[in-house]
Symmetry: C2
Subunit: 388 residues, 2 copies
């Protein structure tokens, strides 16, 4: 096998021609994907059936019910989109916004910047509320933006910033949107099943997530939920949604309540099997128990990192238990250390993203990855590579 | 288990709460998904690794090479999009077209109509070339449209119309586009690995497909290839691509040749494992052998159907061997027969789509589904249900 390292410390290997791929058993403690349990992998490998098969249609109903449970919502339009979380983000914006609309977008990391891209590509104006990467969204700045732009249709923010490990006060922000008569769009890609995400209680309008974070299912699907107010806006649009693939008016014909299950696209059948199994596991554990597990394991990890002299980058009240941003100590070689963790310990941790590249690591404790064995493995590995 | 039948003959069942889903072993002879081999299912259930893991990056290179082989192309930008074929279609249009552009769109079934939707949602004009559903695209009408609209940027058509079982003359149509200085967009969702698809030889510019047809991999990914001319157009756009998720300028940073493998979205890792395995199987069999197998099995099926008094809807030279459109005999109950095939024989065949609903069945012989056992099973099942 040929290897070389590029300037990012990423190893490129050429596989031999026509050889089956047998991945190693990594410990996935980056920003996702997280460790997928054998139970979920086994479910995903069950025989493929048709996307219009009555048995698959029955499964779809069960997946919708389980997603409502996970999102803590009664929203009828609560479904898995057949594409990753970034398509979930796009679905939120292209369905709610029409050309000429204005959206207030809070940015305190990479993903707020993507929201801006999405707003502008809809032919709309993004009013940006900027906060330092590593801080939560500042509600006072949001209040100012709302009072300066009362005509904005949408207030969008990231609940769990995967690039910085920061939580923002979603309850407060959704309430502010509601009071101002705006719709809220909440990025909860890293939140779902890891920390409280009571969609109805917050009065959130569109909330999207991913399957490869705290659900620990296969990457590739975006669970998303729309409030009745959001559905009303989508149903009464003046222009067609610019994306045919993500047009909820069409997707509702396949996934919607009492729908005729009209063909729209071929659902990723086996990925839906996997999602279903991961949601069953969540239901068995219980939402509250899952949140407590994520919280307790986070505290254990932080304690251990502190013994190794590693500091967290985020102030305590706003830390995400499922994604720990760690300051890279002065003089340590980021890429070399991550490479050693991967090659010698089969351990993946995340690099810093965007302006935090080279300055932070991101250690995930998401879903199935959030357990005592992984914490011990991670601490042992860091102790070893930092000492050498 | 509660069941009821709706007006389409689709059975809705309520699953018991919180029960794992164990699908039956269906024989998939509809318009896709096709039978996924145990080898591909096993590959898909291997341990998930990170989408930026050097080993995954190596796998990506091998998948690209194998897709170039399957598409018979040297196009560098030949990748699997992380979403189904309908997203592949959208990627083709949103990347090539800019607001105000004009595209000639050939429609002879459902999917040409989707192309029109895509063109219009890009803020562009679709010049439609209509043919009867069940006929191939008429090159004379296309020539007329080209001479009436020499300013069109794109000529788009469906090579294998999945809704009607009809092939069109892609070589001729791509040549006409090239002579007129237009870019060609070719829907090859049902073509890839089933019939000749020599992308470079045709001079096709953007060709997209799906994984769940003649590749017999898991549904959810769209292989797509862009000619150097198409890449040049995308790289020199005046406006940003309206879809962030499908913007090839961004996706090239992750999948592109010599790219830094910059994070764009989380790839559907396990679905890529499955795709890789299915492409290895195709390479082992050989493209020519796969085409011959599809052709021979089609002839056997047609012979058997004819003995049962069932006629094909498409004239012989334009029949797709991988998708056989069968005329429903007078007085036979479409939904009831498909339900009996499914419930009594675990056999899925496709209903008619759009204006052909209730008038035709679509019997697929795609990829792993194209074999003698399936043909016998299908003929036996039809013989039984038609007799009663």
């Amino acid at each position: 096998m040929l290897c070389d390292h590029d300037s990012n410390g990423i190893v490129h290997m050429e596989l031999p021609v026509s050889s089956p791929f047998h991945p190693p058993q990594r410990t996935l403690m980056g920003p996702g994907p997280s460790d997928v349990s054998p139970r979920v992998l086994a479910a995903s490998a069950r025989p493929t059936i048709g996307h219009l098969d009555p048995l698959f249609v029955g499964l779809m109903d069960d997946v919708k019910r389980l997603l409502q449970f996970a999102f803590q919502t009664k929203n009828e339009l609560t479904i898995p989109l057949s594409a990753p979380g970034s398509a979930g983000m796009e679905a939120a914006f292209v369905n709610l916004l029409e050309p000429g609309d204005k959206a207030i977008v809070c940015q305190n990391g990479v993903f707020g910047g993507r929201m801006k891209e999405n707003v502008e590509r809809c032919g709309c104006t993004a009013v940006m509320v900027q906060d330092r990467w590593g801080d939560p969204v500042d509600p006072e700045k949001v209040a100012e933006a709302i009072s300066a732009h009362p005509d904005a249709k949408v207030l969008a923010f990231v609940h769990s910033e995967t690039s910085t490990g920061v939580r923002s006060d979603a309850r407060l922000l959704c309430g502010m949107a509601q009071s101002a008569g705006m719709l809220s769009i909440v990025d909860a890609v890293t939140s779902l099943a890891g920390i409280e995400l009571p969609v109805d209680d917050w009065g959130a309008d569109v909330v999207y997530s991913g399957t490869q974070k705290c659900l620990s299912s296969l990457p590739g699907i975006s669970p998303i939920t729309f409030s009745p107010a959001a559905v009303e806006v989508i149903a009464t649009r003046r222009h067609k949604v610019q994306s045919w693939f993500l047009d909820m008016n069409l997707i509702m014909g396949y996934w919607g309540e009492g729908a005729k299950r009209a063909y729209h696209h071929t659902a990723p059948v086996n990925a839906v099997y996997a999602l279903h199994e991961s949601l069953l596991m969540l239901e068995e554990e219980g939402l509250g128990a899952s949140f407590t597990r994520h919280r307790n394991n986070h505290l254990k990890l932080v304690e251990g990192l502190s013994r190794l002299g590693l500091d967290l980058a985020v102030s305590e009240p706003w830390r995400l238990p499922q994604l720990n941003a760690v300051v890279i100590p002065e003089g340590k070689d980021d890429a070399k250390i991550r490479r050693r963790l991967l090659e010698d310990f089969n351990l993946e941790v995340g690099a810093g993203l965007g302006e935090l590249a080279g300055r932070q690591w991101r250690i995930g404790l998401m879903g199935s990855s959030s357990n005592q064995v992984n914490i011990s493995r991670c601490l042992t590995a860091f102790e070893s590579v930092l000492a050498s």
